[in-house]
Symmetry: D2
Subunit: 355 residues, 4 copies
């Protein structure tokens, strides 16, 4: 039984708290505030693997269920289970992943928005993404950027379904409440003001740039990174320069500055040589991996996620992880995107090596 003094104190505190609430004040020591400065990341997300064998049939079913006209884009988001519980969206706390489909003859209308986006092509041929006046034909494994506020639309002039993985920084932009969105004025598709694949022509070999080319944007002037070039570069890498955690590991960068392709999202491609098992590490950046070719598994906090071509894997920040190529004869290729550039900008990126 508590003393009368303690009782008075409790009552005084209760009155006090009630008064604060009316004034839109909150004691920082109250339980609901405590969690604001947690003793480590919140684990707002869990590792998760979406199997291509399950995703593909569903995205194909949308063909008969909705049209691009109805829905702006025929895209299915990959939602992290833990984030869904929390009423949030995204594959990780900062990154959205979605699978998008376009059918022959269709157009996904032109728009732009402050969230930055990228696409990794999964399947199909004969469609293009137009970005700020440049038409980029899409082939499997290509990385295509549609940075913040660049107009973009898609059209399919080939045959069969065209499917790709979208990556966006929507959760970040939402959390900072800076979402702007506009349709391209007056037309379904933007004007093509540049030759086809202009930026891929301008920037081909490392260390050669059109002398007169001007650029003042904070993102890469190279819009499409063709898989053919990426694969060649991964093949050419010097084996003794393999990294312990990611084997042969390339960053997609702005060819004019060497910086990440966009301020909020960095992109990587990696080749896991036959039989390779990488060392474990963790970093507070979160990432989404796309299995471009091959099969293997990623062990995250002791749990093994077996993947093969087309699968998508979400890695939350600060989770120990290591990769393994399951084949002893074939390379495996992963393409990933991450919020690492943001954390580095903020000066709070951290990583640890396992043993």
């Amino acid at each position: 039984m508590s003393s009368p003094g303690a009782e008075d104190q409790r009552k005084a505190q209760a009155d006090f708290y009630a008064g604060l609430e009316q004034l839109y004040l909150l004691p920082n020591w109250a339980r609901e505030a405590e969690s604001q400065v947690a003793h480590g990341p919140h684990a707002a997300a869990v590792p998760w693997l979406w199997k291509w064998s399950e995703v593909r049939p569903n995205i194909l079913r949308t063909v008969s269920l909705v049209t691009p006209e109805d829905v702006e884009r025929r895209a299915i988001g990959l939602i992290n289970p833990r984030l869904r519980e929390l009423g949030r969206r995204g594959a990780t706390p900062t990154l959205t992943a979605a699978v998008q489909l376009i059918m022959p003859g269709e157009v996904a209308v032109s728009h732009h928005h402050t969230p930055a986006a990228l696409r990794v092509i999964m399947e199909g041929k004969g469609a293009y993404t137009a970005v700020d006046g440049e038409r980029c034909w899409m082939e499997p494994g290509d990385l295509i950027l549609t940075p913040a506020w660049t107009f973009h639309d898609h059209k399919h002039e080939g045959e069969g379904p065209m499917i790709w993985l979208d990556g966006l920084d929507v959760p970040l932009i939402r959390s900072i409440d800076s979402n702007f969105f506009e349709r391209y004025p007056g037309q379904r598709q933007q004007a093509l003001t540049q030759p086809d694949g202009a930026s891929t022509r301008r920037f081909a070999s490392a260390g050669l740039r059109p002398a007169a080319f001007k650029w003042d944007k904070p993102y890469s002037p190279l819009t499409r990174y063709p898989w053919e070039r990426t694969e060649q570069a991964l093949q050419a890498m010097i084996e003794k320069e393999a990294t312990p955690f990611d084997d042969l590991y390339l960053e997609y960068v702005n060819p004019l500055t060497g910086a990440a392709v966009m301020p909020s999202m960095g992109c990587y491609a990696q080749r896991l040589r036959p039989g390779v098992q990488t060392r474990s590490h963790r970093h507070n950046a979160s990432a989404v991996y796309y299995v471009c070719r091959g099969s293997g598994y990623t062990t995250i906090e002791g749990k093994r996620f077996e993947w093969c071509q087309g699968d998508v894997l979400a890695l939350p920040g600060w989770h120990w992880h290591a990769h393994a190529n399951g084949s002893t004869t074939e390379d495996a290729y992963l393409i990933s995107f991450t919020d690492e550039p943001l954390l580095k900008y903020l000066g709070i990126f951290r990583e640890q090596s396992g043993e």
Copy 2:
């Protein structure tokens, strides 16, 4: 009455959606996803004014109700009403503001965390903040930085209450799930490894730097910006260089680089000359203003917020606003902090002038 075909389609869709949910997939065109790409900022926050006349008595009441030992810090958060409705915290979507108090003889124990913080001193004398080995004595109007992961503690060696305004980027760091926190090991206060006010001595006059000083952090090496210097600089400004929206307007910057004081938060001081009414503008950066001296009002989206010394005002992003000094004889001084550096880094900062 709908056709049998339409009925079938609805049923097919319902089955489809149910199947997606089990696979942690979400059609992006569903209503709950729609809002992710809104056609403008969400208005996740409203403009709000906390009156010093209401805040001060409440922070003083905490003296008898809680001790720093109990609660880590005796701080009361200023919570934006709209954010509270949404189950979020903060004065704006990215910025926390709180009023903190320390009494003579007390210590607020040393800790560090990935959220960056700053303090603007409101009232009192004889207390200090220690930051990474440097003791900074606090006087009203001073700006003191405790950047991400710098150890900091407070001690009051004077008389009477010492009160200040805390500004943090906690909502941002929470949204990117990168909250780390640690106490200083083994002691309540960190070791003082530098002379008192070392950084304020190192960096006094513009354009003079200790030749041998090395620095590789992404934030300012100047920990305390004394009010005395700020006021002198505001007084010395050239009147014809006044800005239309903020009158005589200074940015606190890193003296080694000219960049914002911290990557996530910029700080400004402004002098509104007697009778000045600024032009209206809006920008997607949100801000928190502290009224350092004088009185006047800020008109936000047509609503007038009358302020005087000690008041704190939250300005959400993308709200039209203009300032007025209510006196025709005295200057008014505001100190503010904002998420502008982050938006500029992301390449999505925007602003518009009113007429």
Copy 3:
């Protein structure tokens, strides 16, 4: 006849000047000092063309006349006539050009020096330059960098003479009196610590970099820019992006930063399309051109310099010039180096367009 007063004044001046001289003082208004602040560049150099048909036989004659052992390098400098008159060296006031030869089985011993150097391969196959542990096989049209203080040596393991053009910033480094030179300790050739062509493997496609690669030097990490890549890039350029003064014009850059390959020297490659005649311009950067393929002429201050493959042309700063491809069917290719990066760093680069 001068007045007695004037006579006295002249005598006083003469005494004064004599006194100054003894004290190592010099009136800035004296004639010899006047020229220090001339009213435009001094024209310290003239445009000049060295014909391959004249240079080649002479460099071949050195085979029987001197050995690499005797002379460190079997190189013949191309000396600007006006600079020779002034007792200076170099093809332009800041740039040295020389033609160097190595015969099968020979080694040019390893050394390094503060002057930065580059090589453009003219003729031959089967020899290599080793640069900081990397062996770069040389083929015609390749650009190979040996930046300041990088050890470099050459060896010929093939057949026939191997000839290249050297470009150095020796006149600049001499004028700032910072010439340092050392032989590689204990051996004629440096140790090969990297795989053959390592940097050319690391940096192949634009916008792809080994993620773990660290670099903190002020020059390009790409040592050899193979002609094959340069030619492809020039072929792929978008014709409507041709520049008025240089037609299709590429800068060789640091693939990690987009900066010039070295701080003191920038390098360019250009394709003059059949029949092209560029517009005239002038800039205060001086340059040396190597005719990689084709024939045509460059008009400098009204004088026509007819060139064909292998010729070397010196362009002094601030001389009007324009290029023409003499063929209506074949492209012409020029490779050039220039002191433009230095002038831009100093903030005094200037250029003017002709009519």
Copy 4:
């Protein structure tokens, strides 16, 4: 006696050399070319001290001998003896120093040039330098910048002689043949478009900048660094942060970037505490020191140069040197300028500590 074969060889060589000369070719192994890649700096300059007691009477004599109208500027250059032997000018291979005088009522007409200049005020009061529309009143110890291509003129509105030390990068700009010069059009003095001392008002306290101030020049926006601020900053320095070679050592920097004040020249101020003797070091940057106050000596390569107020000392690059304050009770103050920023840009700055 040499063999007939050797004789033939000598003859062949002589013929060969004669032929080369006609073609403006030069064997790099010839003696005159050898020196181009010397095995260390050329020692193109010697250390030298100009005594104020000798310089001052001579600059005062110019009053009766020449007028500013006659001579553009009434300035006497301090010429390094070794450079004079070589037919060059300057106090060091890259830096000019001169003492300039203006008398009451006189004007030194407005002009600009690509060489960058700075002034350190030696004696007098009531005169000003105008730089790009800003009037800077001059007081002893002030540093005033007139960067490349900024219009500048001087006028004396006070009493008695006004004398200062000029520092320029003329030898560098001459060696790269980029000297441009123009008078201000139509007037002897430029228009004053800014308030008096505008830049000194804009940039006063470290870490505070006018928020709306725009600047894109490669030099400091702060034109006058008043001695009063410099002295206060030197007094405030933390003694345990003294450097071994220069005691309490400040760099004058661009307040917006922290970079050297100009790309070609850096400036330093240092306080030698009573009785201090610094350790010896050497670096390839050359420097000119002005003794602002106090007396002492600098030992250069074993030779002692005793200095007192007003003296000017030239330190060539790569010379061992150490400073000593000769007084045990008074501080000594030196202001110096150097070509260090250029060497750092080129990546060839080097320094060594003595024992």
